[in-house]
Symmetry: C2
Subunit: 370 residues, 2 copies
């Protein structure tokens, strides 16, 4: 199989599985237990917390483990501001949008993006001139579909001058570009394990020391009372190891991704009617999203699947709905073109040979009808 859908999920790194295994076999204590078997796993969680903190340049105490990115996004938005005005960008993940809808605040500000998928700092300047300011603004660091990297630092600076809390979903950014919580000047940041070669079922919310969040899951008071529930120990240990490796190998991975992306984009140039979305702006090195005039994206995806190539039409969560990507629609892309979208997202194990094979097949499918 040629797996080109790493923004949907990544395989677990063999070194991560190895780190997890003792916590699936030998060390099974409950981290809340006082005896030795409990203290051993508690200490493993502490190590993982340090590893994840190092990846985004914060202190370990700022990390709250969750069951994944969705829970972390929900935690950031749901509890802090359940009664307050919030603003979110038009290209956020469903777990950000749904948090707003759930709280039935249809009058929330949606921050628009330009034709490249970028939020303009000018839009933020306008936003902070309005009479009623939002309490929190949520803006993705890098988009899961087109890979566009937002100028979060500049925008967060403007917002924080007005005491607006800034949340960024950095799930797609970590492990691909350098991410520093403090340099970005944000207050809340969402992370996920299974997009950086860690296991599914584990994520984290990074929290500014000056912010008190209200927990979303309540009970035993784990995670310093910010997220109750017996910790997913093996998952957390795996997430920690994955974070350690992501930091260690960042340059090397990023260079590899960029090589593949350049190679693919060169190949794509010869396909008539093909448009690479957000081509002109800063994007994740591993992500290419393109549309092809007159092509049905999901149909193409299935044709590729027949040949054992895994790509996606956009977000995995929205798969199969037959709807055009809301990210592309927000960028003003024509609905027909948006429905033709294919996202390719590379991983560590991908090769140039795979790109050749993919390009050849893509060309044969697309140009057949001509």
């Amino acid at each position: 199989m040629i797996y080109f859908d790493h923004n949907a999920t990544t395989p677990i790194d063999g070194r991560v599985v190895e780190a997890m295994l003792p916590y699936l076999t030998t060390f099974y204590g409950n981290p809340s237990s006082l005896y030795r078997a409990g203290r051993i796993v508690r200490s493993a969680i502490d190590t993982a917390r340090e590893q994840i903190a190092a990846l985004v340049d914060v202190q370990a105490a700022q990390i709250v483990f969750t069951s994944g990115g969705t829970e972390a996004n929900n935690l950031a938005l749901n509890t802090l501001c359940s009664t307050s005005l919030m603003a979110v960008s038009a290209i956020e993940h469903p777990s950000v949008f749904a948090s707003i809808n759930k709280n039935k605040r249809n009058n929330d500000n949606v921050i628009s993006v330009d034709e490249n998928g970028l939020i303009s700092p000018f839009t933020i300047e306008e936003l902070i001139k309005e009479p009623k300011l939002p309490v929190l603004v949520s803006m993705m660091l890098a988009n899961n579909e087109n890979g566009v990297i937002q100028p979060i630092k500049k925008m967060a600076g403007l917002l924080r001058e007005k005491k607006i809390i800034v949340h960024t979903d950095a799930i797609q950014a970590i492990g691909k570009i350098p991410v520093s919580f403090s340099q970005l000047s944000v207050n809340l940041m969402t992370l996920s394990s299974h997009k950086i070669y860690g296991p599914k079922g584990c994520g984290a919310l990074v929290i500014d020391k000056q912010i008190d969040i209200e927990p979303l899951l309540v009970g035993g008071g784990q995670e310093s009372d910010r997220r109750s529930g017996t910790e997913n120990v093996a998952g957390i240990v795996g997430f920690g190891k994955a974070a350690e490796l992501a930091l260690l190998e960042l340059e090397q991975r990023s260079a590899h991704y960029l090589l593949l992306r350049n190679k693919l984009e060169q190949e794509l140039q010869s396909i008539p009617g093909l448009l690479i979305f957000s081509e002109q702006v800063e994007r994740l090195p591993n992500t290419v999203q393109f549309g092809i005039q007159g092509i049905d994206g999901e149909m193409l995806l299935m044709q590729l699947d027949q040949k054992n190539i895994a790509v996606s039409s956009g977000s995995a969560c929205a798969s199969g709905g037959g709807k055009a990507s809301s990210v592309l629609i927000a960028m003003g892309v024509d609905e027909q073109l948006a429905k033709s979208a294919i996202r390719v997202s590379f991983g560590m194990a991908n090769t140039e040979i795979e790109i050749n094979e993919f390009s050849k097949l893509l060309k044969s499918f697309v140009m057949k009808g001509e």
Copy 2:
């Protein structure tokens, strides 16, 4: 190590780890993805859903996977009734109590228990005579501390005549006694993986077909829109396998536990000032909770830990607080005696030899001071 704290968490069964491994290595797709790698893991989730459904005698569609028992309890109580009156028994897990406190409903009815830790059907008869009926009642099937099994079926019958929704936390019951959702006549039931030799980080809420729940985690719309977030595939597969084994081996496990419990209780009889809580009522076969006049439970726990024996003073979640068990207090146990409580909970691998060793040590610690 002698591990006598299976109500806090269990080791993962080797057969469960084996079932999980392919989903930590080979099959890493996102279950929401349309291509083959996605469909394979989707199908593994479906199988696990069937296995868990079989354990509690429901249809697969009634199972909603969560990140654990805490989330399932929160989901049951938080979303269905965030604005409604609820009643919960005095011996519930913190994740049930905290759901009520979070919603700031201090006027909720707390259903009392008798000196044996039993809710009396008479109390329920009184409850349903009150002018303002609760919308939901939550009562544990079997208590995590003293192991007391509640007469849920009888009480649920009374409540449902009044159209009151009945939730039961069955986390400690499954795998130890037969549990049938429909025979118990409940509407909602909480399950957890890591108490039945499955991995941590996975649980489920079983839902009556006639009930619409509002999701707690929102976003991509997984779990038929009842719980968003990329599924913890390996965890779910492990939970499924653990459920399959729990059903298959129920009689054998239960008989083994009872043998050990009888053996231990016999040994305990010779310790002066020792009281077995709830001794006269129906309890889980694997659980013994006792108090010893004049002894500090946490101190004893640490002395046992020094000798590599793991027991607990009560719920793992409440460990280290130095507070008396709220379950025992609700039963009217004197605070000093409650603080002396030790809970022993057996698992499949425990032996009579371990009980002999534990009893000998316990006697030497307790009788030393005399």
